[in-house]
Structure formats: structure tokens, C-alpha cells
Symmetry: C2
């Protein structure tokens, strides 16, 4: 095995923690970030800042605007309203069709090209909120598909997809991130995408809870916080 | 099940035959074509002509130039020479890392968005020339991954990936295509990508053999044909 890892980096709290973990393990990191017309292009700037913080020379930013062109998600289709303050079991309308399948397919192609043995992706099934492509059975399946789809899988053995956050909740992720000095002040989580985080969308709610439950102060700025949920 | 099918259409002989088959079965066809800086952009024009021939209103053309950016294939990297006249068992340097995995991931996202039950893709394992992502075990695996990756897979049942050419050789594909009136004069196969087909690359060789073995005349123009191979 070699020492290279492709890290899927969105600029959010989870992927940045994932990056910190891969870095701490001593891998040579190749971050890959997907730009797909998401509402929050603050994410892209965050991803760039985090790649710089970790001194990654080669940060691959991939334009996959096709995702916004085909629509079907409130994250990429501005005609759909993002549902607020509703952490439920249903698949939310922020679901982007087959997003992690597409992200991982491109990460697999990139890993094969630069001869990286590992891919890191910060999915987790506990804070899940109903995304099917964050479950371990999906990761197991795409791992198997990667082996069958690639020259590398046939000749050299598979690329290993690591999901170190899979079984952690947001409280544990925040705790771990703080311990290994992930620069959370550079990350962004809000679905709405203004200069300051909204404090009321699903993603803000999860993040705020994660810091509160650790009695940590979240270093980013919020427009407001939902007092009802966080009293 | 509904009546919609996404067809992965490259503009080549196989994908056009696949399109003809789906059309003949009576599906409402949604062709999707990937533009990725391949040497042969004639392919793109062929795909457009074929979609028009089959009267498809909505032809999705997706720019995935990332594939050429990451390199690793003689089809997208102009610094690599395309190997000529060598139909061997090895994986050729025209292999594009994880190409069919990426194509199918995007086709799955598109099918989910437009609520299509079927995807057609013209891969075949006999004329294989060593591409791992043309084998039935790869298709079975991505089919399973699609079920796990999507909201549709969770709620409604899987998208069916049909590969009607999987077990056919080029002779059989040409025969079938002629029988169902696929407009082969609009298709293109050459890897090199000049106005006329080179007649000597792997892809030209396979195509020429397919027509010759049926005693059919290939309606496209060639610069030359390799006399050694086709005497």
C-alpha cells in the first residue's frame, strides 16, 4: 500500500474533520471538491481555505454543474424552499439524486489516476437525516463496484474507501475535531448560504447541537439561533 | 413500471444500436451524452444527429471535462499515443479511469430525477478489449449500488440497467442494427477523430470486421483500411 489519500472535501464540518483524521494518520492528502451550483458557494471558499490550512499543493476542484441542471433538490434548485427546523426520519428535499455515488465515482477515477490507495469521505449514518447514500451498505457496495470498474481493481487490488465518521454523532465529531485541531472557524455548514449561518436549517441545527453538547463555543457567526430548539 | 428509458448515447455504433433497441421496445427515450474532451468530438455531433433521427426532444449533453483534466488515458490526453492495430487481451491505453462507473452514476441521477425506470447502455464484454467496466459483474454491482444510493431505490424499487449488447460480438451487433434500421451512416467509431475514420485503430478494426463478416458495406468513409488485417 502507498501513502496517498484522496479526501472528498466539501468545506463543511464533517469533511474537514475527515481531512484532519487522514492528515493525522500521515497520508499525503489530495483533496477533491465538487462545485455543483449548490446554494452555499461559501462552501467552496471554505474548502479552499481548509486545503490551504493543511498545506495541500494539489487541490482538485471539479465542476459538476450537471447536478444543478437536472434539478430535483432544494440544494441546487432555487425554486424549491429548504425545509427549516425539522430533523425528521424522512428523506429531506435537500437530497441530491445519487450525489455520493457521483462524488465517489469521480474520486475513484482520480485515485486511480494519481495511484492513491485510499479515499476518505466524511459520511455518517447517525446524523443521517434520511440520505440513503450515507449508509454503510452503500459504501460497501460502491467499494465492491470500484474493484470491478477499474484497471487498478483488476491488476493491483482495490482502492480502500475510509469513512471514519460513519458511526459518530455530531457531538462526537465536534469533540474529535477539536482534539485534533481541525480549523472549525474555516468551515461552513448552513444550507442557506448567506455570509453568516442562518442558525435554523437542518444543517445549522445539527452543528449547533454538536458544539452545545460538548460545551464548546462554535467559532463561526450566526444570524440567529432557534431559541425553541436550543433552550 | 413506467415507459421511460435513459439511453447512454456516445454516437458510436454500439450505443446507437442500443438506442434503436430501446426505441423498438417502445420506450420514451431520454438520451444522455457525455462530453469529456475526447479526441473524437465527431462523436458528439454523431450523438446529436442520432438523437434527432430518433426524434428525441430532450437530449441531455453533459460536460464532464474533469475526465480529461485528470488524464490517464490516450483518449483524453493528447500527449499519449493511441496504440494502433493491436486487438489484444491487455487493458489498452484508451482505457479512461472508471469511465462507465461515472457515466452510469450520472445516468442514475438523471433517471431518478426524470423518474425513468430504465437505463440502456451499449457495453459488451465480447469485444471487450480488456475494459473492466464492460463486464457483466461490473453492471450487476453498479445496479446493486444504485439501489442503495438513491431515494428511489429505497422508496420505489431499483432503476433497471439494461445491456442488450452484452453477449453480442460486433458481427451480431451490426446484423441486429441493420435489421432494425439503425442509421449507421450517422455513427462514428474511430479513436483518432479526423473527418474520415482512420481505418487502423482498434475501434475502426472492430467495426470494419463487423461489417465484413456480414458482407455488408459500412456506409461511413475511411482514409485507409489495414490490408494486412482485412485480406
Amino acid at each position: 500500500m502507498n501513502n496517498r489519500a484522496v479526501v472528498v472535501l466539501s468545506g463543511g464540518l464533517d469533511s474537514s474533520t475527515c481531512m484532519g483524521i487522514a492528515k493525522k494518520k500521515g497520508y499525503e492528502i489530495y483533496p477533491i471538491t465538487f462545485s455543483y451550483g449548490q446554494r452555499h458557494d461559501r462552501e467552496l471558499n471554505s474548502a479552499i481555505s481548509i486545503a490551504e490550512y493543511y498545506k495541500c499543493d494539489d487541490h482538485k476542484i471539479v465542476d459538476i454543474n450537471f447536478l444543478s441542471e437536472i434539478g430535483g433538490s432544494s440544494l441546487t434548485d432555487k425554486s424549491l424552499e429548504i425545509r427549516e427546523n425539522e430533523l425528521s426520519e424522512d428523506i429531506p428535499n435537500t437530497y441530491v439524486p445519487a450525489r455520493n455515488l457521483i462524488f465517489l465515482s469521480l474520486a475513484i477515477a482520480y485515485a486511480e489516476t494519481i495511484d492513491a490507495d485510499y479515499i476518505y469521505i466524511g459520511v455518517n449514518s447517525l446524523d443521517y437525516s434520511g440520505y440513503p447514500d450515507c449508509r454503510p451498505e452503500f459504501i460497501d457496495s460502491i467499494q465492491n463496484t470500484a474493484r470491478l470498474a477499474t484497471k487498478r481493481g483488476v491488476n493491483q487490488g482495490n482502492i480502500i474507501i475510509n469513512t471514519p465518521l460513519m458511526d459518530l454523532d455530531k457531538k462526537q465529531i465536534v469533540k474529535l475535531g477539536v482534539r485534533i485541531n481541525v480549523p472549525f472557524e474555516l468551515t461552513t455548514s448552513c444550507y442557506i448560504g448567506e455570509d453568516e449561518a442562518c442558525g435554523v436549517c437542518d444543517s445549522c441545527l445539527l452543528r449547533i447541537q454538536g458544539f452545545q453538547q460538548n460545551n464548546y463555543v462554535d467559532p463561526i457567526k450566526y444570524m440567529s439561533k432557534n431559541e425553541e430548539t436550543f433552550k
